[in-house]
Structure formats: C-alpha cells, structure tokens
C-alpha cells in the first residue's frame, strides 16, 4: 500500500526540510504547503482514532495548530509525516482520556459520505449476496478494529487507514519498528480472521 505521505510528497525530504525551515521563520505559505501535503493523513488518523460524533474538523485543526506551534521540536532527521501523526495520535488520546470514552468505529451506522464497500470489489456484478457480504466484511472489520488493544488499534489504523509506512508509525508512536511489526501482525491476524468469518 502506497503511503499517503509518499503519494502527496512529490518533491521529497529535502524540499520538505526547506519548507519546515521557512515555516519555522513564520512563513505562512510554506506552512500552508506543508499542511496541505499531509492533511489527509491527519483527517484519516483522527477519524479512525476518535469516536463517531467527535468534532473531526476541530481535532484536525487543533493538530495542525499544535504542529505549527511546535515546529521547532522537529529535528528534521525523522519522518515528517510520522512526526505529524504523533501529534494527531497524542491529541486523540488526550481527547479520549478527557472524556473517558471508549473509542469505537461505527459498526451499523457508517458515515453518510462513506463509499460503498462494493466499489472496492474486483467484480462489477454486485449481486445481493455480494452486497450483503461486502457490508458485513466492512462492519466486521470496523468492529474488530475497535476491539483491538489500544496500541494495536493505533498501529492498524495508521498503517491501513492513513497509509503511513512502518517508519512513520514508529515515529508517530515513539516505538521501534520491530514493535510496530509485532503489533501490526497481531492486529492483522485478528482483523483478517473476523473479516473472513463475516463472509464465509
């Protein structure tokens, strides 16, 4: 799976470092370019780590603001997308902790603007059975992801819903890549089994 950061960073790390430097100096245009480049990552991260009904746009905006205000803390050595994702993850954790909410992904009430799961199936003949199976698979995935232990859920969401690579996830969660792999394998094992069970 191609990472969001790679897809949206055609100019590479050097260019990004330059943008960060400019933004540190207060250059609004450079800051805007950086945000624009990574905003989908932030939307996807917050969307999957916050419960449905939470102010998603507010969370993303707050993440962006936190990032801009702490640009001095970015050393430039790591993955900028991972650094941004770390801010988003911490903000989501703060929000959940403050509200003492158990995070969940919508099971039976998908967002209105969600694409139909059938759009992603290879065949173009959506029989009623296939429709039902695809929806059940998506529901099973959301449900199982919501049941994962926190760290596994974060790793899974960052990998599959935001498209962050392993290095970026390690940076975002401040753990070793080996730890990311371990959590990812455990999460994938559980979620895949649930999805396959939902569509025998």
């Amino acid at each position: 799976m191609a990472s969001v950061a790679r897809r949206e960073t055609p100019l590479g790390h050097e260019d990004e470092r330059e943008l960060v430097e400019l933004a540190r100096g207060g250059d609004r245009d450079a800051a805007g370019t950086l945000l624009e480049r990574h905003e989908l990552l932030l939307f996807r991260t917050c969307r999957r780590l916050l419960p449905q009904g939470e102010d998603l746009e507010g969370a993303v905006q707050e993440t962006m603001l936190r990032a801009l205000r702490s640009l001095a803390g970015f050393t430039g050595e790591g993955n900028f997308a991972g650094w941004l994702a770390a801010i988003a993850v911490n903000l989501c954790r703060d929000k959940l902790r403050r509200r003492r909410l158990v995070p969940f992904l919508p099971l039976e009430t998908p967002d209105e603007d969600d694409p139909d799961p059938l759009d992603f199936l290879p065949s173009s003949e959506p029989s009623p059975d296939r429709v039902a199976m695809a929806r059940e698979a998506v529901a099973a995935m959301r449900c199982e992801v919501a049941r994962l232990p926190r760290r596994q859920r974060e790793v899974f969401a960052l990998r599959f819903f935001t498209g962050l690579d392993l290095e970026g996830i390690a940076g975002a969660l401040s753990v070793e890549i080996g730890t990311v792999k371990t959590h990812l394998h455990r999460a994938v094992h559980r979620v895949r089994a649930a999805v396959e069970e939902a569509k025998p």
Partner: protein, 147 residues
C-alpha cells in the same frame, strides 16, 4: 500433486506488506483462491476507511489553523516593506514640517524675576496656603504675653 495455499501467517505477512518467501509470493501471484482472500481484506480496509473530506472542508480547516497560528504571508512581507518605507518617508518629513511652525517664545527671564520676588517676601507662601504656613510655623509670641 497437491496445492498448498497460503497459511494464515503467510497471508498476514502479505497483508502487512512484508517480503514473502519466493515460493509463497509465486503461489500468491498465481492462485485465485489466495488472491481472493487477500483482496477481500483489502476491500474491507478500503470500505472501512471511509471517504476523505472534500477540498472545501480541507481548505477551511487548514486556513483556520494558519489564521490561529499567525505567520506571515510572502505577500504580506511586501506590504510590510511598503508600509515601512512610507513610515520612513513620513518620519523624515516631520523635522522639516516642524521647522515651519511658529512656536511662541517664552520670556524665561521675566518669569524668574517674578518667582524670585515672591520667594524673597515669604518662601513658604510660595508653596503653601497661609493657614498651613501658620500651623507649621506659628507666629512668634510677644514678650509678656500669657505669663
């Protein structure tokens, strides 16, 4: 000949994007059953991911963050330079304008003479009313009075 499909752990490796052993990768590429398992998972991921926000929403959120942060636009940089140049011009003109204005001359000698005259009469009356002066410095008692 029996076909060995991917075990669960091998499929998990494929899903996480790890490098598969050559024979496993080869089998996955050619086996419809195994590919369907993999593609089913990927389809569920894409369905569960949900739709991305539209451009207008993204722009609004981004601009909100930028406004709250501050920063300086390059266009604003130019505006600031122009404003600074205008301020320099105005400030440099101020002395010229002042030189043309007529300020009334203060006759300091006359004022000093007047102040000296008042102080010579009674230094305290220059700075305090008479009743205060009398309280602080009572009038001398004449001889024989009150004895």
């Amino acid at each position: 000949m029996t076909i060995r499909h991917l075990r669960d752990d091998e499929l998990d490796l494929a899903l996480t994007g790890e490098t598969l052993p050559a024979e496993v990768a080869e089998h996955l590429a050619s086996c419809l059953v195994c590919r369907r398992r993999r593609d089913g998972f990927v389809a569920a991921v894409n369905g569960a991911r949900g739709a991305d926000p539209d451009d207008a929403t993204r722009r609004r959120v981004r601009e909100g963050a930028l406004s709250a942060w501050g920063g300086t636009s390059r266009r604003r940089h130019w505006a600031r330079w122009v404003a600074a140049a205008a301020a320099v011009v105005v400030l440099s003109l101020v002395p010229l304008l002042r030189s043309h204005t007529v300020t009334p001359k203060l006759n300091t000698d006359a004022v000093l003479v007047e102040v000296d005259a008042v102080l010579a009469q009674d230094p305290l009356s220059a700075v305090a009313p008479e009743d205060v002066v009398n309280t602080i410095v009572p009038a001398p008692v004449e001889a024989g009075e009150g004895s």
